[in-house]
Amino acid sequence: MRIVVGAFPDETAMQAALGRLREAGFNAIETYGPKPAGEGHSPLPLVILAGGLFGAALGFWWQTHETVQAYPLDIGGRPLFSWPAYVPIALEIGILLAIASGVFGFFVVNRMPRLWEPVDDAPAMRRATSDRWCIAITTETPEQARHALWRFAALEVDEVAA
């Protein structure tokens, strides 16, 4: 297997080429670009929600356990289970775990850290984080992919081992 990388000057050119490549029957395609692109489904909001709810529940349970069971302190005869006072800490722990699960969840979902990927060997990729948009095609027939990329107005085409 080979990876063929084509670089385009802007997002529109890349998108146009992408559509025509798909039509031409290339399927194993990944694109790279220097700014957020592509709305789409991601499990991460749910991960963050779960992290936050778990954190808040944990915080609330924790405070209940300590104040009611582990270390009951009678303060002026007030009830031991004084739940309104547990809300702020439960909220803070919930937020902490929500943010942490968002950031670390992102790394897990993307299987990062991945300091190396085969596509890194393509010199064109070095500008994909600045001002170029790249299309990487993983294919058995690199010759066809190269031709297609040139035909669809790539500025630069590289081929690397997959």
């Binding site: 850290p113 190396w116 890194d120 070095r126």
Partner: protein
């Protein structure tokens, strides 16, 4: 070859991050665990004394009562250590030439007390009163262990704050009948009054025993 990192870097990065996390977790774990070890708490450490006095021999063997030497335990905060005269009650008659007892004779001759080393030492910010504990049904054994079995004295309880609080929060199971206070081998039997009865007998429970100022005055 344009890639910045070689393929092995992927595994290396993960290993580095994992070992970093592992090191932090292990560090916190050690910090948490170490003060809980018997080593850090000096539990079961035998303290070297000027004279290798054996409680096993004197209490377990000869049957001398705790209060024969620790005379103020029932009336004062401090249990008291015996003056050399107490030793000499017997040792002016027996083992009068024993090399082991030379420091005792020396102490008598010089009129200088023997300097024993503390085995059970509480911090200065903790106020502990022997008399009240003994009067309210807490046996010597509860804190000092089976002294009658110790050839040399050692610390057997952690003496941490939670050790004290465990009993102050729920004293009932730790109480014993008055006649068993000084018996270091006493065990609860079917005839022993129930914990609740003992609580009532000793009038324990009338006030909050976990009040900070009970120990920190």
């Amino acid at each position: 070859m344009a890639a910045i990192f070689p393929p092995e870097a992927n595994l290396a990065a993960k290993l580095v991050l994992l070992s970093l996390a592992g090191a932090i977790a292990a560090g916190i774990g050690w910090w948490w665990l170490f003060p809980r070890t018997d080593y850090a708490r000096h539990v079961d450490w035998t303290v070297q004394q000027p004279v290798p006095f054996s409680h096993q021999h004197h209490v377990g063997g000869l049957g001398i009562d705790c209060r024969f030497c620790h005379v103020t335990v029932e009336v004062s905060g401090n249990a008291g250590l015996p003056p050399t005269y107490t030793c000499m009650t017997c040792h002016s008659q027996i083992w009068t030439n024993a090399a082991l007892l030379a420091p005792v004779r020396q102490s008598l001759a010089d009129n200088v007390p023997i300097r024993w080393h503390r085995v059970t030492d509480l911090p200065d910010y903790v106020y502990f009163n022997h008399a009240i504990h003994v009067a309210k049904g807490v046996g010597c054994e509860s804190c000092h262990g089976a002294v009658a079995d110790m050839p040399l004295m050692r610390k057997v309880r952690s003496m941490t704050m939670s050790f004290c609080l465990d009993c102050h929060r729920d004293p009932a199971p730790h109480l014993r009948p008055a006649e068993a206070i000084f018996d270091t081998k006493w065990q609860r039997t079917p005839d022993t009054p129930s914990p609740a009865t003992l609580m009532a007998q000793y009038h324990v429970g009338g006030r909050n025993l976990t009040e900070c100022s009970i120990c920190h005055r």
